[in-house]
């Protein structure tokens, strides 16, 4: 936990939930686990306000609770999860991602669930007015809801979900230990803890999704087939002829007895952000390959990652499932720009001519023949898996080959890229060059660094110390003699990854905090004008605003948009630096 992180979280909570909730979060972030009795005097709020604030925070998954026995009493302790507060700042990215994959209906459902924290599909239907929709719109809505649940964009809520994870794990451990007749050894205890964590993974990977009820419908005859409609994903969706309270989802049209998915109306759901972080991280990997090579390589990576997405639960997964090149070929989008992606001719300078002597022009990507398409894809795969980053690795050489994505390597590559951009922005190109040299050569003396970067020794020393002050690089001492005399030591400069990431995170948190503060400052400078726009007479008749006032409001809207875009870019950096770091998995374990 960093000071800048806590400051940022307080600002985010104040923006979304108001000053009362902010006061409660500030105390929990500063002091840690507290009971209600301890929280009230520290938050300087009335007991009723504190209870309401805690209810709001639990509803949105920001605070968890756990019972603890103190003497003869059972006391409830509350803990705050800063990671879920930071996710509020990523709302725009999540909503855009859902809109791209699920359409406007999916966006409406997801946004409603996200805004209310926890909600049933029945409540969502009430809010969105599904009952007034037409038949076709209702079917489409039902299909989208089933897809959101099946693909785990939204996940069913259990009563244990709001209990602090550390307490849950401890209780599970205690119950496992109680089953043993003798106290466990250290190895047995480790095995128990691993088993508890694996159980959670198994529940996720099981094919039974909580909230989806699969029932076998009657054989579909020709009459029934006419009632099948096309769902949002292009597959057939069965029309419900049953009573209210049940919604039909996706059906597998195989002509025989069909399995029809339905979503439980009374089950509570919440947005599953870990899964969405995986999609955003994959998008960053695609962007990396697009920038490094071309759009065709990016499209190929996108296909590979789409195949592996089903089994990738969170960003902590280090290796993906193996994917065959046939699967990749099937998942590449038909309009992927493959034509100019790679030159597969033996002589790259040779220009093909037709019989009349005109140069041969390649057809567009959609018009490519199957053979030509597979030729390009296999050539691109060869280039991608030999990339220096090591993100895509070829696992099996048999047949057309099996590939696997190394997410750990992807996280390291993305982080390095992010830090290079930060250093370049903050210090300049010379400092960025120094950093790249140190990354390539590992540990170097300052004289060698000066030679490698072609800088005078004094300038090199000054810049190295700038980077060391910022926490980007560090020194390691190598003594020449046994007495470790400082004047006779070698000081080598190197990159300490953990320290570098921590300083990068602090920088990003501070920058995001500055953006929010700037937005508040700009809004407060025009507070009277904004208050005027909220008056009922002005809402009814906008001509009451003068030209100058309208211009100022447009200026404010433009400033807000620029700040929001800056916030989105910074949050993308935070996703790369923090959420995708496999080493932070241990820190995230208890969150």
């Amino acid at each position: 936990m960093y000071t800048q992180q806590v400051g940022l979280c307080k600002q985010i909570v104040r923006e979304h939930y108001g000053p009362i909730v902010e006061a409660v979060v500030a105390v929990l972030a500063r002091e840690g686990r507290l009971s209600l009795r301890q929280l009230v005097p520290r938050a300087k709020q009335t007991p009723r306000n504190v209870r309401q604030a805690l209810a709001v925070l639990i509803q949105h998954g920001i605070v968890t609770h756990a019972m603890s026995k103190e003497g003869s009493l059972m006391v409830t302790y509350y803990s705050v999860c800063l990671k879920n507060i930071l996710r509020l700042q990523r709302a725009g990215l999540y909503l855009a991602l859902v809109e791209e994959r699920m359409g406007s209906e999916g966006l409406a459902v997801f946004r409603t669930i996200m805004a209310s924290g926890v909600s049933t599909i029945g409540n969502v239907c009430e809010v969105l007015g599904v009952a007034e929709m037409g038949k076709a719109a209702k079917l489409k809505f039902n299909a989208v809801v089933a897809k959101l649940v099946r693909d785990r964009y939204i996940i069913a809520v259990n009563t244990v979900d709001t209990i602090t994870k550390a307490d849950r794990i401890m209780q599970a451990e205690v119950s496992e230990v109680e089953k043993l007749t003798i106290p466990p050894t250290a190895k047995e205890l480790l095995a128990i803890r691993r088993k508890i964590l694996e159980r959670e993974e198994e529940e996720y990977q099981s094919s039974n999704v909580v909230g989806i009820k699969r029932r076998a419908s009657a054989d579909i005859s020709a009459d029934h087939l006419s009632k099948l409609h096309m769902g949002a994903d292009g597959r057939a969706v069965a029309f419900s002829s049953h009573g209210t309270g049940e919604q039909n989802g996706h059906s597998h049209a195989n002509g025989e007895q069909q399995q029809v998915d339905s979503v439980d109306d009374k089950q509570f759901f919440r947005a599953y952000f870990d899964r969405l972080d995986v999609f955003l991280r994959n998008q960053q990997v695609v962007n990396y390959f697009t920038d490094k090579y071309n759009a065709g390589a990016g499209a190929l990576l996108k296909a590979i990652l789409r195949v592996t997405e089903q089994h990738t639960r969170t960003c902590r997964v280090k290796l993906s499932e193996t994917v065959s090149s046939t699967q990749i070929f099937q998942h590449v989008s038909p309009d992927a720009p493959l034509v100019d992606a790679i030159d597969t001719s033996k002589d790259m300078f040779h220009q093909k001519y037709d019989a009349s002597g005109n140069p041969v022009v390649e057809p567009s990507s959609k018009e490519l023949s199957r053979e030509r398409r597979s030729e390009i894809i296999f050539a691109l795969l060869e280039v991608i898996h030999t990339d220096s980053s090591g993100i895509v690795a070829k696992v099996d050489e048999r047949g057309t080959g099996q590939y696997r994505v190394n997410f750990e390597r992807a996280a390291i590559t993305l982080r390095e890229r992010c830090v290079d951009a930060l250093v370049h922005e903050k210090f300049g190109s010379v400092h960025a060059r120094l950093l790249r040299v140190l990354r390539d050569k590992q540990k170097l003396d300052e004289k060698v660094v000066a030679q490698a970067t072609m800088l005078p020794i004094a300038a090199c020393r000054e810049r190295l110390h700038d980077l060391a002050l910022a926490g980007v690089i560090d020194t390691i001492e190598i003594p020449r003699s046994a007495d470790r005399n400082p004047s006779r030591m070698f000081y080598l400069w190197y990159i300490n990854s953990d320290k570098q990431m921590r300083s990068a995170m602090r920088f990003v948190y501070q920058a995001m905090s500055n953006v929010i503060e700037r937005g508040a400052k700009e809004a407060s400078a025009r507070a009277l004008l904004v208050a005027k726009t909220r008056r009922q007479d002005v809402i009814a008749d906008p001509s009451l605003l003068t030209d100058g006032e309208r211009k100022e409001l447009q200026n404010l809207a433009r400033i807000k948009q620029r700040l929001a875009v800056a916030s989105v870019r910074l949050d993308s950096m935070l996703l790369v630096v923090y959420d995708t770091d496999p080493h932070s998995a241990d820190l995230q374990l208890l969150q």
């Binding site: 923006e15 979304h16 939930y17 108001g18 000053p19 009362i20 909730v21 209600l36 009723r48 306000n49 209870r51 309401q52 604030a53 805690l54 209810a55 709001v56 639990i58 509803q59 949105h60 609770h65 019972m67 409830t76 709302a91 725009g92 990215l93 909503l95 855009a96 809109e99 946004r111 996200m114 805004a115 209310s116 924290g117 926890v118 909600s119 049933t120 409540n123 809520v157 009563t159 979900d161 709001t162 509570f268 208050a531 005027k532 909220r534 008056r535 009922q536 007479d537 002005v538 807000k560 948009q561 620029r562 929001a564 875009v565 800056a566 916030s567 989105v568 870019r569």
Partner: protein
Amino acid sequence: MSRGRGRGRGDGNRREISALQTELQGKSIFNKNGEKSNGFPEYDIVAGRVASEEEKHIADLMEKFRAEMQSSVFCLQPPAPVRDVERYSDRYFKPAARQSLKGLKTDVRLFPDELHSELLKKSTKGKKTAVYSGNGLLDALKDAKDDDDDEGGDKSGSDADKTDKEDGDDELGDEDDEDDEEEGNDYLESYFENGEEDDLGDLDDDDGGGGGDY
């Protein structure tokens, strides 16, 4: 007179030169002729990358979500301060009534018991409400009288079939009439007691009877 020996105060010709003076070497730290000094060094501000349409769309979605949260029931605001002066804008600015958390459709099992009071509406079912029963007071008075008079107890038993409310209302009505009568007159009772009403004959007569004086 010292000739450079020792470190006493010495002669007045010798002046001590401070380090600041040697550094300045005659330069003045104040600007001459009102020259403007650069408060900040020259810095080439690079304009940021122009936002793409996708980024603008994401920013719009984020702003809409934030506005939705600020207008929702989850945004707890302290009560507005009481206005001492009525302003013109108060006529046109009426803040929307905020919903209470008690109307929230959520799973109460997710919350600890001590927070249920903020989420659940107070139910009046099954709660015994104190209904005024005038007959209860009447019964209490009559029971007290029953100890002396048996007929009072029979009467209360026969009155048990009647509705309590009617009796209560009657009792109340009678009491009200009596109160009205009493309130209309400041001179309710004679506060001057001249002893006419006192029957002092009982004091000396052991029989307590009404025999005349001889």
